[in-house]
């Protein structure tokens, strides 16, 4: 790998916010293609962060620090990317379901999806089914992603899917779900397209749903 890309990749893995900005600027100045920086530096770095998380080497703090570095690198890179390169992987509307205010998991998934090249529309927490429907209708969204931390609120994933069906938009989007009490079996039962146990695997799932 090119030395400049290797440095960018390493900064993302280590969550070095200042370092990554410096190296991205230097790479752009040297005339390197922004898409290459994005894919082979930043996104590859975030994929490694995801792998380390799955392996139990990294936990939430390390992931957040890397995602933050990714975000500030993206702010520098964005003006240099073509419109196809921004959010090229797909558009995801993400939110924590109605009644549930826990947004830590949802935020992590959002950050990791952005880190993988998705455009993320964050609907926030305590999101009513109608709001998911509205997002699915208006924003040219590919995936609706729902999170719940509580056993008492995860049932609202089912009502949201029902609302998507009622509004006639269920077929135009993929639905993925996650959160502490959620399981693969639950995803099947309520008719979601997929379930991921953590933010890293949510990225893999989102990619596979759109492939």
């Amino acid at each position: 790998m090119d030395e400049k890309l290797k440095a960018i990749y390493q900064c993302i893995v280590e969550g070095d916010n200042n370092g990554v900005q410096e190296h991205v600027r230097a790479a752009l100045e040297s005339g390197m293609d922004a898409g290459t920086i994005l894919n082979e530096g930043l996104i590859a770095g975030m994929a490694e962060v995801g792998r380390l998380f799955e392996e139990g080497e990294y936990f939430v703090p390390e992931m957040l620090i890397s995602a933050r570095a990714m975000k500030s690198a993206m702010a520098i890179l964005k003006p240099h990317l073509t419109s196809e390169q921004v959010g090229f992987a797909g558009r995801v509307a993400i939110g924590t379901v109605k009644g549930d205010l826990h947004d830590i998991g949802k935020n992590l998934v959002g950050l990791m999806l952005e880190g993988a090249g998705f455009q993320v529309i964050d609907l926030g927490s305590d999101v009513a089914p109608e709001k998911f429907v509205e997002a699915a209708k208006n924003n040219d969204v590919d995936i609706v992603a729902m999170s719940a931390l509580l056993t008492t609120t995860m049932v609202n994933m089912k009502s949201t899917i029902a609302a998507l069906e009622e509004a006639g938009v269920r077929e135009k989007v993929k639905v993925m779900i996650g959160g502490a009490p959620v399981t693969e079996a639950y995803a099947r039962q309520i008719g979601a397209d997929g379930y991921a146990p953590d933010a890293s695997r949510a990225v893999a799932l989102a990619k596979s749903l759109l492939s």
Binding site: G56, Y58, F59, V60, P61, E62, L64, I65, V97, K98, G99, D100, L101, H102, I104, S125, D126, L150, T151, T152, T153, M154, V155, N156, K158, A180, P181, T183, A185, Y186, Q189, I190
Partner: protein, 295 residues
């Protein structure tokens, strides 16, 4: 002095029986989906008392107030901060009412604030400490026997919580963590690190609650026991849930299965035992019966 009753119980030489789950049981009793269980303190107090009572009948010696999500910050997220004082005071009164005429102690429950602390998030440790202090003061004034900071995952938040609570009351204090990534919390904290960081904090007990499977919690217990001299509070989930065709959560661990584990928990160093999510009054009865056998 009321608080000494907890220490008497703790040092009686036999394990102390705590209660079971609040949220999953109230949901089984009709708490609408999407409604935090704390809401029923004011909206359906009869059912809250009934659940406390069922745990007492099943053998609980300590019951927890239904105030897990009743910090001012947490209530504000749900637009319910106007209820802050009333809901905390009422929750203690309901538990007291259920415990009336018995020796059962009431523990004030303090749950995570639902926001991340610096540096991962934006909430300062100072603000977090104040928020915990404010709720602890209310619970103490309303007459709880002890306080329990539970389901913690971030050491910074737990330290702020302990500092905050200690600044307003001398009631016995327990601090309990949820090791929901096996034997690490979601922030990567290990039982030994929690024990070490809280060693000089003046806790009455250090604990494990919620988490993942019974097996994972048991491993966390072993790690914690090796790292602390404090009494251990142990309130695991009734195993990992799955859901049925209607989307209801099913906990496969039966009361008998949970009861069978109790001797191992006590042998493994747990002094205060109960259950978290999925632990019904029937599960608790099995736990209490098993405790009587080992005592």
């Amino acid at each position: 002095m009321i608080s000494s009753r907890f220490f008497d119980l703790l040092h009686s030489g036999k394990p102390v029986v705590l209660d079971g789950a609040t949220g999953t049981n109230l949901q089984a009793r009709g708490l609408p989906t999407g409604t935090p269980s704390d809401v029923w303190v004011l909206d359906n107090p009869a059912e809250v008392i009934r659940l406390h009572h069922d745990f007492i009948t099943a053998g609980a010696e300590v019951i927890l107030t239904n105030t897990f999500g009743s910090s001012r910050l947490h209530l504000a997220h749900a637009g319910l901060d106007a209820r802050f004082e009333e809901t905390n005071r009422t929750a203690v009164a309901l538990a007291r009412q259920a415990a009336a005429g018995s020796e059962v102690l009431v523990a004030g429950s303090l749950g995570p604030l639902g926001e991340m602390l610096e540096p991962a998030g934006t909430l300062s440790a100072e603000t977090a400490a104040q928020v915990y202090a404010e709720q602890a003061r209310l619970l103490a004034e309303a007459g709880v026997d002890l306080l329990v900071i539970e389901t913690q995952f971030d050491l910074n938040e737990a330290l702020a919580a302990v500092r905050g609570v200690k600044s307003v009351t001398d009631l016995p204090l327990v601090c309990s963590f949820s090791y929901d990534r096996g034997t690490r919390t979601m922030m990567g904290l290990r039982p030994a690190q929690a024990a070490q960081a809280l060693a000089g904090a003046g806790l009455a007990a250090i604990g494990i609650n919620c988490g993942r499977s019974l097996e994972d919690n048991r491993r966390a217990l072993d790690e914690l026991r090796a790292a602390t001299d404090l009494p251990i509070w142990f309130k695991p989930n009734a195993g990992l849930p799955h859901s049925d065709a209607e989307g209801r959560m099913i906990y496969d661990v039966t009361p008998a299965m949970m009861g069978e584990q109790v001797a191992g928990w006590v042998a493994g160093g747990a002094v205060l035992v109960g259950g978290c999510c999925g632990t019904s009054p029937e599960h608790l009865r099995a736990i209490a019966e098993a405790v009587r056998k080992v005592a």
